[in-house]
């Protein structure tokens, strides 16, 4: 809880800092609306970096396992590959979601990468 409070305080500190910068440049109009949208954007980016990237990586890894299993790869080798792939994919997607400045592009990228293997798994089920 405390860590959550600190995270919120941090977000507020960053928001207030940006708000002050904008005000100093004389852009005071519709500050509240912009701040609200920015906050929503930050929350969405947080979801993209965390659980959505994780779910996408999980879908890709599960589909990889199913494909490799169908190709006849040894079970334990298959499990080793997808276990490492899962962690690396999740961290890679998280970096991409934090790195890419365009919200639409990173949202489509992360969600699309999760939906494609899901669609494959549904089609073969």
């Amino acid at each position: 809880m405390v860590l959550l409070v600190l995270a919120v305080l941090g977000r507020e500190a960053v928001s207030s800092e940006r708000r002050e910068a904008k005000e100093s440049r004389g852009r005071v109009a519709e500050t509240e609306k912009i701040t609200g949208l920015k906050l929503l954007r930050k929350v969405w980016v947080g979801f993209l970096i965390g659980p959505i990237s994780g779910l996408a990586a999980l879908a890709i890894s599960t589909a990889m396992f199913a494909v490799f299993k169908d190709l006849g790869l040894d079970h334990s080798i298959n499990l080793t590959i997808v276990s490492f792939a899962f962690t690396l994919l999740w961290s890679g997607l998280s970096v991409f979601a934090g790195f890419e400045p365009r919200l639409l592009r990173k949202s489509l990228g992360v969600i699309g990468l999760g939906i494609l293997p899901l669609a494959y798994l549904i089609s073969v089920a």
Binding site: V2, L9, G10, A66, F84, V95
Partner: protein, 494 residues
């Protein structure tokens, strides 16, 4: 022109990478830091177990007959039959024999009589904090695994944000402010990268194994979770109802001693004891291998049934069998543990200094965030403080289980709230360093007073001396820093 475009693109990449690095660090740095500190201490969990209960009977080995006698005595003393009966054999760093059931654990004496109850509440608290963050098991493992993922993500974004990080591998600029902190953060990150990346990767592997297995099982094995792991670790045959005399315990242990004298048995497991389907497994360590051990299976009469293949099976089995030891550093004795201590401390310093760079940068740009900075210091030094408080609680007041968990988390929460209210990071830092010294000293003194007769024993001395060294080290760091000349502080920002 082309050069300037490349420079601009590189600068943009650095800026975007730094932003990704900061976002993850600001959101999750505290929890990752707690895992780094507790992980570093967990490497020495066997030493802490011995220190917490120094009066337990110790031995370098136990005869098969004595181990069987002790195990049978504990099994027969239970009102409700256990589903698994374990014998933990003496190890070089934990020279004790422990008989464990589903509900309790007792030490065994070398003559096969049952000794006192095993009780190491602080070490257990520490391990549960590192494994699960005190959350319910699968949820906790998954959260901890996810934090491992974000540590890898921070490593990737950190390296992307610093294109000259390897070229500057030997640069360290002294002075005040952000520059020496940045150099410390970057240099430690580069030099310990093989450790913290492999450790985060193996930690995430272990933590996320359950959730990945559930997903794979639902798609490829009709929801049979155990079908995912059984080709790697072997499968447990279905229980067969019906009473039987307890299976042979001494025979399998003697078989291992006679046929595999180079191996070091660590566990004996009797599955479904005193039932028609009972059978046993011995886990044995292979020297000079990274695997945690190999499973050797026996039937109820003690006849050898074969091994699972962790040591000589597929490459996948051998890699998966090595992940645990690579993560926890228990594969090369004391030198490897000491290396993990240094690397773990470095990782803790990297994480702590990372956010200090952020806050120092804000101060230098005239945009300080003192409440948040004080809150971060409360996490950085509140974590060891509260670990010391729980140690004192366990050693001095007999606190255990839930009470230690409440002391730690409520205490850390209180410290963070207090620190953000005070909004003086320097005061918080000094106050919590002093508190760490005070509580570690108190815990050490109480422990020494309780076990004064055993002070020179190998169970007590290493941890007591280490705690004393820790108090001295932190105490020395509390000395006021000499004033530096302004010329020295004028170093260019990286």
């Amino acid at each position: 022109m082309k050069n300037s475009i490349c420079t601009k693109a590189s600068s943009e990449r650095v800026q975007k990478s730094l932003e990704a690095h900061s976002v993850i660090a600001l959101a999750l740095g505290g929890l990752i830091y707690i895992l780094a500190v507790t992980g570093t201490l967990s490497v020495f969990n066997h030493e802490f177990q011995r220190w917490e209960q120094p009066t337990a009977p110790e031995m370098s080995s136990i005869s098969p007959e004595a181990a069987a006698r002790a195990a049978t005595s504990v099994f027969e003393s239970e009102a409700t039959p256990t589903t698994h009966l374990y014998i933990n054999f003496p190890q070089p760093d934990l020279p004790r024999t422990v008989i464990t059931t589903d509900t309790q654990a007792f030490f065994a004496n070398s003559d096969g009589t049952v000794g006192p109850r095993e009780h190491f509440p602080w070490t257990q608290f520490l391990l549960d904090l590192h494994y699960y963050l005190h959350l319910p098991q699968i949820l906790g493992l998954t959260v901890v695994g996810a934090l491992g993922v974000f540590l890898i993500a921070m490593s990737i974004s950190g390296f992307m944000a610093h294109p000259r990080i390897f070229r500057d591998a030997f640069t360290f600029r002294r002075g005040a402010g952000r520059v020496p902190l940045t150099d410390l953060h970057n240099r430690l990150s580069v030099w310990t990268a093989p450790f913290h990346i492999s450790n985060a990767l193996t930690g995430a592997f272990l933590g996320l194994a359950s959730i990945l297995a559930i997903s794979i099982a639902s798609v490829s094995f009709s929801g049979d979770f155990f079908a995912v792991f059984s080709p790697v670790f072997g499968n447990e045959p279905p229980a067969i109802e019906g009473d039987a005399a307890i299976a042979e315990i001494a025979v399998p242990i003697a078989y291992m001693q006679d046929n595999y004298p180079d191996l070091l048995p660590t566990y004996f497991i009797l599955h479904d004891p005193a039932t028609a389907g009972q059978h046993s497994t011995i886990i044995a360590e292979h020297s000079d291998r990274l695997i945690f051990g190999e499973y050797y299976n026996f039937d109820a009469s003690g006849a050898y049934q074969g091994n699972v293949g962790i040591s000589d099976g597929t490459i996948g089995q051998q890699i998966i069998g090595s992940v645990y030891n690579v993560h926890f550093g228990n594969w090369g004795g004391l030198p490897v543990k000491l290396a993990y201590l240094i690397f773990g401390l470095s990782l803790s310093v990297i994480i702590a200094s990372g956010l200090r760079i952020y806050f120092t940068g804000r101060r230098e740009k005239g945009r300080p965030a003192p409440r948040l900075e004080a809150g971060w210091e409360a996490i950085v030094w509140g974590t060891p403080t509260m670990l010391a408080v729980t140690l004192l609680g366990a050693v001095g007041l007999g606190s255990d289980g839930v009470s230690l968990i409440l002391i730690f988390w409520l205490g850390l929460a209180g410290l963070c709230i207090g620190a953000t209210a005070i909004a003086r990071p320097d005061r918080v830092l000094r106050g919590l360093k002093t508190a760490t010294c005070l509580f570690v000293s108190l815990a050490m003194l109480v422990h020494v007073a309780k076990y004064i007769d055993l002070l020179g024993s190998s169970a007590l001395l290493p941890i007591t001396l280490t705690l004393l060294f820790l108090v001295l080290f932190v105490g020395i760091s509390l000395r006021p820093e000499p004033l530096r000349s302004s010329a020295k502080t004028k170093v260019s920002a990286e």
